[in-house]
């Protein structure tokens, strides 16, 4: 990591999502965007109906070029939901994917404080500001590539494990099927005829 400060100008773009009414039903996203536009480093801030939809992603991609953005903040849902989506979008526009940061103003804000609109708005602004603050210190990173051992292991030899193993093996993948009992089959092997076909289970 280079420690020498590089005073290149920060150009952050901020996108505040409505998520239909999931967010916009509780707080005004345009107000959050307007407020964010005055934070240091932010050169452009906008609200968008669905940031994750094609239209939202296209907006972000076009803006990266139009405003020459070098950081993107998406104030929307959980990173567990869409971090990969937005990393993909910014990298399609030529930005390193690690220069995108999300603020979770849905799961952890409007959905959790639906009856405290004022509190939710303050929190949405703070969460957006925090993502912008982190964005100022983001550095571009390269993914690490690792080799792949082309062998699979399936643990449990019931009907689910057997199907998995057969499908993997039919794709040509060497598969070890591990079963703790002396026989495979699981519960299904113990059953009489099974619905919906009412044929014998084994």
């Amino acid at each position: 990591m280079s420690e020498s400060p590089n005073p290149e100008e920060l150009r952050i773009g901020v996108y505040v999502c409505h998520c239909g009414t999931n967010i916009a039903g509780v707080i005004p996203p345009d107000e959050v965007a307007e407020w964010a536009s005055h934070l240091p480093g932010v050169v452009h801030a906008a609200d968008t109906l669905y940031a994750c939809a094609d239209s939202g992603q296209t907006l972000i991609k076009n803006d990266i070029k139009k405003y020459n953005l070098n950081r993107v903040v998406v104030s929307a849902c959980s990173v567990r939901m869409h971090e990969a989506t937005f990393r993909g979008a910014v990298s399609e526009a030529g930005l390193n994917p690690f220069l995108m940061e999300m603020a979770n103003i849905r799961e952890q804000c409007t959905w959790a404080h639906g009856h405290d609109k004022e509190g939710a708005l303050k929190k949405a602004k703070d969460l957006t500001a925090a993502a912008i603050a982190k964005a100022r210190f983001l550095a571009p990173l390269e993914m690490i590539t690792v080799p792949v051992t082309k062998r699979a292991m399936v643990i449990g030899g019931g009907v689910a494990g057997i199907s998995t193993a057969l499908d993997l093996a039919d794709q040509g993948i060497e598969t070890i099927l591990v079963e703790k009992e002396p026989t495979i089959g699981g519960v299904m092997a113990q059953l009489n005829k099974t619905f919906p076909t009412m044929d014998c289970s084994i």
Binding site: L10, D126, M153, E181, P182, P196
Partner: protein
């Protein structure tokens, strides 16, 4: 079953258990214990001569103890592989089997468990489910009344391959029952036992009723139910057919079963909601549709494979909608009923789907992983100056750090999983974690506490669990105080003491230190590093005279949304009870001490520039691609 055993690409290892899993996507190392069967696999031809001469009989678990088996046994005649096993617990070492096996010489009492390691690119977990034991519901009389049986026992009793060759008989007298009651939701949808619906018992209740009606046209069949759940394709039609066949459906959950001591007939006491009556009908036999429950060893399997559990102990998916068969660990997937009750079509579908998820990885030559790993600032590491240290290496759950006096600590990129434990533990701030640097985290803390910090409940959350728990609170719309502000790091091991001091220095009303439960930790022992640090902090704050509750340590899983909401609300209550004036005074009086303690981090490159968020930008940053030292 046979297809799997015959497939040239499938290596079936029965009587085998997974004991350890190391490594990461594309590069797992799995330790297996192949238990000794005392039978040599390549020699046994499955003739069963050993079982014929074996004098020992024990109950056959496969037949739910309804029939015996020998100490030399196969579970069932269709076992795959058809390979005998000698049950050492039952065996009396008479060696009659050895004699009977004769020239094949397949029995070998000197066999021992074999430990083998396998290199694996991707893992699918399909460990299935178990059956609820209805004897814990005393009012149903299972294990007291001989003619009360479970659904699994029914599956064996009306099975032509079962112990009675498909002749359904009453255990009390060997007669065919003329009136049979089937009771749904036994241990399911019952807050005393399991809140969930077991998914397939409505359908197998109907299935067994239809089969029995075909076998014994005179039989009277009643199914007691709360709701009949038949949502899949063709299921409702099947239910309709059963009604047309004259099978009775009684809406009500039976409250009691009593027995006539002489005839061993049974009386089912239940409300009939449709008729608005309390009923008591007599039957010859009762079948209990026991709930599907997680496997008894689910905790140890979760910890070996690093899988989290949903409430109740089912394996938890990474995202219920978008990644329903992935676990948080890249390269490990879940299929079948281990995730929650699934019938056969759904289990097969999820099996095929995971084969495709795993195939994405296994068909690639290389796989990408996030570069959020640890990096040493060599000039800050005291080991480079010839001092003994190595604290970082002790914190690392993966042995990814080597420290030799005279050179700076070295992180092996491929081994580092990015918990950040070493980063927070290093007393010299000589390590950073990419994408979770001190500067980045401090900038967030400062932004979040810029305005009225004394009103804020500041939460440190780990990515995998407590951040997930906060998401779950939102997804479930469990509302909690909007004064909560949080940052996310990968593991509680990354929650540096400096961050906590800094939050208090800035005037936070309360601070939550939260991560996963120890058994759920995504980084083996990362949580332990985080937990012991949190306990140290608690002692320090106690000594400083901090009001109880202003620092709180909680372990919250990704499934515990309600807990997350409750904890935040309790913390809100704590600061409300302290009162603003007293709180502000306390914050002010502790500021110098917090500042002194937090000072260490101001030495970190970049951090000073993060100090005042509202200040004009004067930040240190680099747009060069960081060399991660592969």
């Amino acid at each position: 079953m046979v297809d799997a055993a015959r497939h040239p690409k499938i290596d079936v290892r029965t009587y085998t258990q997974v004991e350890r899993v190391e490594g990461f996507v594309g590069n797992f190392k799995v330790q297996l214990r192949e238990k000794a069967r005392y039978v040599i696999a390549d020699r046994c031809n499955g003739c069963g001569d050993c079982a014929k001469v074996c004098p020992i009989e024990v109950p056959n678990r496969f037949e739910l103890d309804l029939a015996p088996r020998k100490a030399a046994y196969v579970a069932m005649s269709q076992s795959v592989p058809l390979l005998y096993t000698i049950d050492q617990e039952a065996c009396i070492h008479c060696y009659k089997c050895v004699e009977a096996c004769g020239a094949l010489d397949a029995i070998d009492f000197s066999q021992e468990d074999k430990i083998v390691w396998e290199d694996i690119g991707a893992i699918v977990v399909a460990t299935g489910f178990n059956h609820f034991d209805p004897s814990v519901i005393p009012e149903y009389g299972y294990n007291q009344y001989p003619n009360v049986i479970t659904a699994m026992e029914m599956e064996r009793l009306n099975n032509s391959a079962g112990p009675t060759v498909g002749n359904l008989i009453r255990p009390s007298d060997g007669e065919n029952p003329k009136r049979l009651a089937i009771i749904n939701c036994v241990g399911s949808r019952d807050k005393r036992f399991n809140p969930w619906c077991s998914n397939f018992c409505c359908m197998y209740a109907i299935k067994n009723a239809v089969l029995l009606k075909q076998m014994y046209p005179e039989i009277e069949l009643s199914i007691y139910y709360i709701d009949i759940r038949t949502p899949s394709k063709g299921y409702e039609e099947f239910y309709e057919r059963a009604r047309e066949m004259g099978i009775k459906f009684i809406q009500g959950r039976p409250s009691l079963i009593t027995e006539d001591k002489k005839s061993h007939n049974l009386f089912v006491h239940s409300e009939d909601i449709t008729l608005g009556l309390v009923t008591e009908y007599e039957y010859d036999m009762v079948m209990l549709n026991q709930a599907a429950v997680p496997q008894p060893d689910v905790d140890s399997v979760s910890s070996v494979l690093n899988i989290q559990q949903s409430p109740g102990g089912w394996f938890m998916e990474y995202h219920p909608k978008l990644r329903p068969l992935d676990t948080p660990t890249d390269g490990i997937f879940i299929a079948g009923a281990c995730q929650g009750p699934k019938d056969i079509p759904a289990s097969v579908a999820s099996g095929s789907a995971t084969a495709s998820r795993a195939g994405r990885i296994l068909h690639s030559d290389e796989w990408e992983i996030e570069p959020i790993i640890a990096q040493v600032w060599e000039d800050r590491c005291v080991s480079a100056d010839g001092k003994k240290c190595g604290i970082c290496a002790k914190a690392c759950p993966y042995n990814a750090i080597t420290v030799e006096v005279g050179t700076a600590a070295q992180v092996t990129t491929a081994k580092c999983h990015g918990c950040g434990g070493c980063v927070a533990e290093c007393p010299h701030n000589a390590i950073t974690q990419l994408h979770y640097t001190d500067a980045q985290i401090l900038a967030q803390i400062r932004a979040l506490l810029a305005d009225k910090p004394e009103e804020k409940i500041f939460a440190f959350r780990c990515h995998w669990c407590s951040y997930g728990g906060a998401d779950m609170a939102g997804t479930s719309h469990f509302e909690y105080s909007a004064n909560e502000r949080g940052v996310r790091v990968m593991c509680s091991a990354r929650m540096d003491t400096d961050f906590i001091y800094e939050a208090y220095r800035l005037g936070a009303g309360a601070v939550l230190y939260s991560g996963c439960h120890p058994q759920d930790c995504h980084y083996i022992t990362g949580q332990l590093v985080g937990a012991s640090r949190a306990e140290r902090l608690q002692k320090i704050f106690d000594k400083m005279g901090m009001s109880p509750g202003r620092f709180r340590i909680e372990w919250i899983s990704a499934a515990e949304g309600q807990k997350y909401a409750n904890v935040i609300d309790e913390m809100q209550q704590t600061i409300d009870e302290i009162g603003k004036e007293k709180l502000l005074a306390e914050i002010e009086s502790m500021k110098p001490e917090m500042e002194k303690r937090a000072r260490r981090m101001y030495e970190v490159p970049d951090v000073t520039d993060a100090s005042d968020y509202s200040d004009k930008m004067k930040i240190a940053m680099t747009l060069e691609v960081v060399d991660i030292g592969k």
